[in-house]
């Protein structure tokens, strides 16, 4: 009798605790490149793809519309205007030049133009053409494709454990 009650007890507990006969979800295997919102081929090695998140991808769009003419050596329309501009503008992926510049400086020089920041007036102000979001996105794109890679300035990580 006691054994039967015990058996019943165990069975009840077991049934209650087991997730009811349920089909386990199937995870779709996905390629890491397919997880990125967009990709940009490395400018020096087209086989190497840099994954871009949403903001960087928006920046890529703005870059290839407005900035590519002077900040790249190849443009969608053929020859680049870079060689016509003096002093020669830095390439967008020129990490050695752009990585040390703060996001704040980058926002200002794009918004207000070169002359406002003590640089060449050949860099026009984009503040009335592009939105602040677009400008932030372009900077995010520059940071993503920088060679050598861009390291964001260290910030104190919050003391938090996810589990």
């Amino acid at each position: 009798m006691r054994a039967r009650i015990g058996l019943f007890l165990i069975a009840t507990l077991f049934l209650a605790l087991t997730p009811a006969c349920r089909e386990k979800p199937v995870a779709a295997k996905s390629d890491p490149a397919l997880r990125a919102y967009d990709v940009e081929p490395d400018w020096n090695d087209p086989q190497k793809l840099t994954p871009l998140n949403y903001q960087q991808a928006q920046g890529k769009r703005v870059f290839y519309t407005n900035c590519v003419w002077c900040h790249a050596d190849a443009t969608p329309a053929g020859p680049s205007n870079r060689s016509n501009v003096a002093p020669t503008p830095p390439l967008a992926n020129d990490g050695a030049t752009l990585n040390p510049l703060s996001d704040e400086f980058m926002v200002n020089i794009i918004t207000l133009g070169g002359s406002a920041m003590g640089k060449s007036a050949m860099m026009p102000p984009w503040g009335r053409t592009l939105s602040q979001e677009d400008i932030r996105a372009v900077i995010a794109f520059y940071r993503a494709i920088a060679q050598p890679p861009y390291q964001s300035p260290a910030r104190p990580a919050p003391a938090y454990a996810s589990k």
Binding site: L17, P25, L34, R35, A36, T129
Partner: protein, 706 residues
Amino acid sequence: MTPEEMGKVSKRLRLGFAVSSVVFLAVLAISPVKDSLREWRRYERSYVRYAESRPDTKHLLADFHYQIDQVWIPDMNVVDRCTTCHQGITQPSLADATVPQPFRAHPPIPHRVKDWGCVICHRGQGPATEVAEAHETTLAWERPMLSVHFIQASCGVCHRGELTEAPQLNRGRQLLAELNCAGCHRLEGIERPTMLGPDLTNVGTKDSREWIYKWLKEPRTLTDSNGNVTVNGYETEEEPRMPHFRLSDREIRSLSAYLSSLKAKPVEPYKFDPRVVAMWEKKPDLADQGEVRFRQVFCTTCHSIAVTRAGETKLIGGDIGPELTKVGSKVNPDWLVVWLRDPQGYLAHALMPRYEWSDEDLYMVTHYISARLTDSDLLSDVPKLEPANSEEIQAGRRMFLEKGCASCHVVEGIPAQKDFGPDLSALGAKNVSQLEFGQSKIPRTLIAYVQAKITDPFSVNPAARMPQYHLTPSDLDAISTALLGMTGPPSSPGLARLIVPATPAAYHPAGTFGDLYERYKCYVCHRFNGFGGTLAPDLSFEGSRAQRQWIVDFLKNPQTLRPTLTFRMPQFNIPEGEAQTLADYLGTVMQSPGVNPAKVDAKEFTPQMSGLGKQLYEVKYQCQSCHTIGSSGGYVGPNLSNAGNWLTPAWIEAWLQNPQALVPGSIEPRRALTGEEIKALTAYLLTLKPSGAAKAGAAAGRGGAR
């Protein structure tokens, strides 16, 4: 029963009661214990811990409750509990990439989570409260989440027109249209054009059976397994239009027999002026002179040919018309002359403009094409083909229909094969269980299926009639995105109301201008009120922008304004009268509401003002970084050397005020110019006119600059 026995029973009973009470309590406790261990509660507790570790705790926890959060929009069938775990999705301060998932904020998009929910775009199961059930496929829930790589497909569900923010979707739709997918498949938002491939009604008068055999066996556009496309052996970036069908030798023989028999309207050779023939026939440099004219006319704006420079041969030219490197070995020379004189006489839908040829030019150019753009080895591997007999022709006609050729090609008397392939207008909403994977080893997902079907149709269906396409990985992803966005009719009335339809544009003016517009096919390259090509400048506001006399001169003798462009307006040899008509129409009709010519008086501009303008141009604003004047300056904007003859003062002022107000999306940066500065710059630009010598130099340089 004795009291002793009673006591025993009651003891047993009590024990029984005690045990069952404990069991009962334990069973009761199972549910709350299980509930407190639920995944979403773990995430909520974790979120609270995370918020407490940050300085903006108060703000982050302002709306927080330990409960299932839900976005419920009955109108759109949205029941989304995603925000239960994705607590930070609307917190701007959590946008940083260092914020651990699932708490990170959503990137800023025009749609708010509160109004739309999540699964409208991301798919997956909104009502689920477990990670796996919400994101992946289960037996009952079949809609897995859409990978962010293809997320623009979701934009396409409602936005049926072009969407600047979704370049991948736009590219995919453009490819679907360019590759003529609509010839066989029904596609949402992509209309089936009247003509996809060339009309073959009279193809027998144009090409030989041998050439057709060669073309069907091995289209001159080939793609290797790496996706490199070659035309006639030269690498190109263009998409091949005629895809590769798997045809047996017998099938090719009968098809070539049938097609070469199509000669409904025989070619009547054009009779050149005998004086022209007599003068040029014997000249040794006839083909060379023809080549010079060929270049001067700018055939290469639409057609490409192989050019060898510095030991490297590559294709140069546009892709509106076919590549021409070996066309002399393809077409009948008599046909060529007739075609060039009047393309629409042979093919009513042809995009090729009708040039105003002089007999001399036509004679030279056709001679050049037939003599130089040839390849004597082109047909060397074609077997000896007897003249087609009626049996072969009949078999070829059957084959033509069996293979679905009439989906893209028109032959008089054969009805168009619409919807030859499956309907794809709701492909993006299909469940995996509805797809046939055949023997293939690909993952059982919709995306894998779509991509396998495009890259190798036979891998999922050995009996597929679909031809083989070779796309670069990014183009393949773009096409997949566009197809996944085709989800059929909206699933709820709420969604149906949200559809942003494509704005169908058509611009077909009547009258004399309309005739010329059709004749020179202006709309193939230029855009008019949203209709037409994008190769050349949008002319919707040309009347406000350009001075009338400049338009007339340009039409008679087009020169490029943008040095970066490799394409130039062809020389149509437009006569004076027609140029006047075109300029009159453009000047009076194609006007921008933002430009008021009456507000600007050209007499008000003084030399002092233009002197100041020159200063502003060269020093303060350094416009030369993008614009060329004379021989120095940048390539990005148009050349301004002739701005004084070209632009109207009112246009310059309005443009400097706000370029994007006149041409949305213009890349000219809008500057904060004062009224005085605008006047000064306008005055300066109006003084820019090439001197006599420069003009002569520009004319001499014409044609040779490529």
